[in-house]
Symmetry: C2
Subunit: 409 residues, 2 copies
Amino acid sequence: MALVVMKFGGSSVADSDKMKLVASRVIDKKKKGNKVVVVVSAPGDTTDDLITMSEKITSNPNPREMDMLLATGEQVSISLLAMTIQSQGENAIALTGPQAGIYADLDHSKARVTKIVPKRIFSFLDKGNIVIVAGFQGINPKGDIATLGRGGSDLTAVALAAAMKAEVCEIYTDVDGVYTTDPRVEKEARKIDLISYEEMLEMAGSGAQVMQARSIEVAMKYGIEIHVRSTFSGKDGTYIVSEEKIGRKKMEALMVSAVTFDKNQVKFSLIDVPDVPGIAAKVFGSLAKLGINVDMIIQSAALDKKNDISFTVSKADLKRTQSKIEELAKELKASSLSCDEHVAKVSVVGVGMKSHAGVASKMFEILAKNKINIEMISTSEIKVSCVVDEADLAKAVNELHKGFKLNKK
Amino acid sequence: MALVVMKFGGSSVADSDKMKLVASRVIDKKKKGNKVVVVVSAPGDTTDDLITMSEKITSNPNPREMDMLLATGEQVSISLLAMTIQSQGENAIALTGPQAGIYADLDHSKARVTKIVPKRIFSFLDKGNIVIVAGFQGINPKGDIATLGRGGSDLTAVALAAAMKAEVCEIYTDVDGVYTTDPRVEKEARKIDLISYEEMLEMAGSGAQVMQARSIEVAMKYGIEIHVRSTFSGKDGTYIVSEEKIGRKKMEALMVSAVTFDKNQVKFSLIDVPDVPGIAAKVFGSLAKLGINVDMIIQSAALDKKNDISFTVSKADLKRTQSKIEELAKELKASSLSCDEHVAKVSVVGVGMKSHAGVASKMFEILAKNKINIEMISTSEIKVSCVVDEADLAKAVNELHKGFKLNKK
């Protein structure tokens, strides 16, 4: 009897009809002889609605009470899904994160899972129940509800699968898997059958919104097989597994697995700052103190003891970055400061590039041939990213997808 | 430093503006030197909305999951109210029923409070917090959320006041106290300054919807002073206290404290059933087994070894009663069966009638003088109730209010 963890996102439980479809998928899985643990997110726009309620009261809510508020969304989902499954004649029980034995740390709104004690879940499974667990939440050492950050239901599912040694963790969503790029931008985008944790991590970090990055890290650490698939069809989706499982042959055949992009970027440039030690540390240290995540950084070669520093942040941090960087520009006597909202990041991702030299140069060549100017570059072992003008983005994605032959199996 | 429990109903926390008003009342109370515990219901129509969601799934939801679903409403209220108070510069903390140490029994949807362990509440109060507790909910021996039935937030407030030995339990509502009768029916209705637990209990049982009856029982048992007052004005409302506290003088002056009524009644009559032992037991035993609460009962004197039996139930139980009683009518060979939905119950309530003979006869006289036919009568030590035609109800209320001089202080 295999143990399967199934996770359904908010759009899959947005109304009673969708809830009934989810119930039938879950019951089906149990009838095939599996023990089934289901993790659900808050229905539809519930989380956003709750945030709006709090915004009417204060722009700076206490994180403890904010978590208590947001956790109600998943509690609504699990109660309703349990009722739906029960009304279809199967035994089911709903457990909040704390009831399911999910322990988290004190960092409200982005708590980490510290341990999972699945005793109660196992006991309900042994009695023949489908166990439905609220995603996104756990209990902290103070006995308070802590939420795990946006996309935290993925983390709940993967962490439960790891703690319970599940055979597979299925992530149900409204698309039917992970694609070589966004099908809305490139009509020849293909569904990927098999992808490694490392590639998924780089994709999550470079704009693909399939799964929360932290949950992929946990899956990788514990070797949990993830199956990303559609709630609305019975077809296989994308399996996320270790490089070993994918096998040498496949790895060597493909240099690049996917093209990803991120339009949610703003580029700042500080022009002519003094070329003395500690300037970069000062700039990026001040931003880090504000909790602003800097993505790409370029420091130009020094001319006349002056430097240019450019970096990108997410658009959500635009205003806070701007006011801090204006202050720093004055302090550092920069000759000018620029801010460009019309940039985008395009990346190619693939474990194949570990053994293939020349992926970066091929990428630059494809962009150059298409007269797309590269503003910034960053690379990792299995990813190359370029910042380009937002107007060139679609063309860049299309040409890279074709150039790296992602349209062909 | 006095300890005060303040309870706010759903209409008082229905939106962010009302929430801000509640916050200012609470902060005001604290600034006057009190320790403050606040109990809140779910905002506005939230509970009804959640019920509607469950009804789209099943007409017969599992009570455990139903409680888990409904409890989210109060969790939303306490989170938002804590944020509101915090944003006005005071320390506040929100606690769910389980976090507040409210223990309940296993009877989902109408659980009884079994014990209260207010250790955590006291510790937060000692640190200078306003403590906000979710009404209507507790934790049962299985570690599940249990709700306390409609109006259960009143019970939470009174039980907390009892367990914590609060000086007073203030019940905030959208009216400014308890009235001698419904001001919408009788324009000379007066606010009552002081009323006994016993009278409030009889009023709650005879149609007045000011407070949940169980919570008044608990207040009476522990001698908790209740103050029913308006959220929207600073004026004193109605104090509910023991007869002893009200004092002899006042008690002897007033025979009757209030006229109440209940339009939510249906009268059934079984005509010509055999006058043999056990018939009434059979009829009312069968209804009790279905959980149907029978209110008033009249069994006519036997003629020709035949009896008529009439009784009233609440309109919510109409259909279930009808199908059972049709079955019984056949079995008992009743000559006919009637069902009258156009009846209403009018009652006069007052501890004064303990020492005044003649309240019942005065009531009958007033009704007779106004040509209002009395269909059924029941009495308790401090209440007389009559069932009348619904069309005569307003007149009955007006004339009784005037006849017992309730319009005059």
